[in-house]
């Protein structure tokens, strides 16, 4: 139920992409996503260049292309939300077919809009994956700090990240314990939903109290070791010339993509 691999998004390596300053990577990922949203529907050439640029980054980072492709499917279920646009946008009919009693017609305008949304979402999620796969989460935190995100939020995020795995395992143990105690014969009646919900609610309450009490212990332990309300880091995180160069490449590439998308 709780797979180690689902949490291991970071792919350790020493590539030039990994070594880039986290600020550059955060801005780059957000920049690509922003550029995607700004491209008009059907700007296939620009979308294609964006995709190729991402593939080059994946190769430079030394991550398996299949890893990125597989993870990029997370956004797929949401496509259901947009699928109806295929049939409802007025335009030239392309294909008609019948499902049960519905007569559905795909229009050219609908197809254009739908595939554009799909491609936009797919390229955007890959940009986010590359960021997470090449940057350790604490480094993302430091990058956000240099980008002037409020310190309180980053402190909360860092603590959350630190205890995410601990509490997820705690939750998994609760779920396993429930499964172990809830054996039932194949033809026995299902317990009522209300009862099950109460059970799940008690588990949530239990988990809450354990977390709450843990936070007390964590704080006391930190104070005992000299915590003064600030996170310190040994990595300097200064922008060197390679970082500025990387940022410049990304920005000029994005401008080029925008020009191509809007004028060709």
């Amino acid at each position: 139920m709780f797979k180690e691999t689902t949490f291991n998004v970071y792919q350790a390596s020493q590539s030039i992409i990994h070594k880039l300053d986290p600020r550059v990577k955060i801005l780059g990922a957000v920049g690509i996503i922003l550029s995607n949203v700004l491209l008009p529907d059907g700007a296939w050439l620009a979308f294609g260049i964006s995709f190729i640029a991402l593939v080059i980054m994946v190769l430079l980072a030394g991550i398996a292309v299949s890893f990125v492709l597989k993870r990029s499917l997370v956004a797929l279920p949401f496509v259901l939300v947009a699928i109806t646009i295929l049939f409802t946008l007025p335009g030239e009919p392309l294909v008609s077919f019948n499902i049960f009693s519905w007569h559905l017609t795909i229009t050219d305008a609908g197809l254009l809009r739908f595939t554009s949304i799909l491609v936009r979402a797919w390229i955007s999620v890959q940009a986010a994956i590359i960021l997470t796969a090449t940057t350790r989460f604490p480094d993302i935190g430091h990058g956000l700090r240099h980008l002037k995100i409020p310190l309180v939020l980053i402190a909360i995020l860092s603590f959350m990240y630190r205890y995410l795995f601990v509490l997820s395992e705690e939750a998994t143990r609760l779920i396993q314990a429930r499964a172990a105690r809830s054996a039932s014969l194949p033809d026995s009646p299902k317990p009522p939903v209300r009862w099950q919900a109460k059970n799940a609610g008690n588990m949530v309450g239990q988990l809450f109290l354990r977390s709450y009490e843990r936070s007390d212990r964590v704080y006391n332990a930190m104070v005992a070791r000299g915590f003064q309300g600030q996170f310190l880091t040994l990595t300097p995180h200064t922008m060197v010339s390679a970082d500025w160069f990387g940022l410049a490449i990304i920005l000029s590439m994005l401008s080029l993509i925008q020009i191509i998308g809007h004028f060709f």
């Binding site: 939300v81 997470t132 704080y219």
Partner: protein, 320 residues
């Protein structure tokens, strides 16, 4: 991945730029306010507490139980966080949960994160805390009913604003997205309500002392009640209208669009469902902008009201 991606985590690419930016602005405004307000009450020891509470919400979203038809009941957590931790802390905790889900697991996008935080973190906390304040001093049965209603409505509110964002971005037609989203979340909300009430009952029975400290954060009780009630009322009024009469919604939007357009542009009105090219004054852009501004204005207004409550009013209402 076991933390089931609820259909409310919008990925990048599904919302247009105007909607994304408008909701980022609204979210920055409110989260910024939450940081400012909580600085007064937050002590150093609360930082680990909030981080661990955020991890708790994330882990609690893994706990589920089967409901009819293959769907499962699980927790979104915004209402519970606000009830147990207080409104500002609840908002900060949910903001962290949603940011981390996007940054680490690509569960929800980065550019649309403002919208996601608004839908799942801010609205849920405001409704949860506001309605809880109404029933706080009643006996347990009424408390539970109030919390159940708050949890259910918070999910519905998230579904409603998500539908609005998708529709105004021309990603889904109104006639389908409203009935589908609201219909599904009517059920999902029941799971949320049941778990939230059971968890609340458990916590208050085992550690009744935990709920006390947050009363310091809930200054201006009436303000929270008003904000929570107004958002809830809007959800209750708009949801049935939006899901049964989407055409009516289109007419309203069309009128709004006409209003905005008549003033400054010579362009003739384009029929609805045109593809929005950015930067051009078109139906969806104008409506999106207007709605964004109205939402931000309303929220800023009510939060401002909530924060600066005159002291004499609350003196004789606080029982503790």
């Amino acid at each position: 991945m076991n933390h089931s991606p609820a259909p409310l985590h919008i990925p990048d690419g599904f919302l247009n730029i105007v909607i994304s930016v408008a909701f980022w602005l609204a979210t920055i405004l409110i989260v910024g306010l939450a940081i400012r307000k909580s600085k007064a009450t937050l002590k150093e020891r609360h930082i680990p507490l909030m981080g661990i509470m955020a991890a708790f919400i994330f882990a609690a979203q893994m706990i589920n139980f089967p409901v009819a038809g293959g769907t499962s009941g699980h927790l979104l957590g915004g209402a519970l966080a606000a009830v147990v931790l207080g409104p500002w802390s609840g908002i900060l905790v949910m903001t962290s949960v949603i940011s981390l889900q996007a940054l680490l697991f690509q569960d929800g996008g980065l550019l649309v994160m403002g919208a996601n935080i608004f839908n799942m973190g801010i609205l849920t906390a405001l409704i949860g805390y506001g309605l809880f304040q109404i029933v706080k001093n009643q006996d347990r049965g009424i408390q539970f009913a109030g919390i159940a209603a708050a949890a259910w409505l918070s999910v519905l509110a998230g579904a409603l604003t998500t539908s609005f964002q998708l529709w105004l971005s021309s990603t889904s037609p109104a006639g389908l997205v409203f009935p589908a989203m609201l219909g599904v979340h009517l059920l999902i909300g029941i799971g949320e309500a049941l778990i939230t009430v059971a968890a609340f009952a458990f916590i208050t029975q085992v550690r009744p002392d935990i709920l006390r400290p947050q009363s310091a954060e809930g200054n201006g009780k009436y303000g929270w009640v008003i904000v929570g009630s107004i958002i809830s009322l809007l959800v209750v009024l708009i949801s049935p209208f939006a899901s049964t009469d989407p055409d009516g919604l289109e007419r309203v939007a069309e009128n709004l669009g006409f209003l905005g357009q008549a003033q400054d542009t010579p362009f003739s009105f384009l029929p609805d469902y045109t593809i929005p090219f950015l930067g051009e004054t078109e139906f969806s852009t104008i409506v999106a902008g207007l709605v964004g501004i109205i939402i931000i204005g309303l929220i800023a207004f009510f939060i401002g009201k909530a924060v600066q409550k005159p002291a004499p009013v609350e003196e004789h209402t606080h029982s503790n």
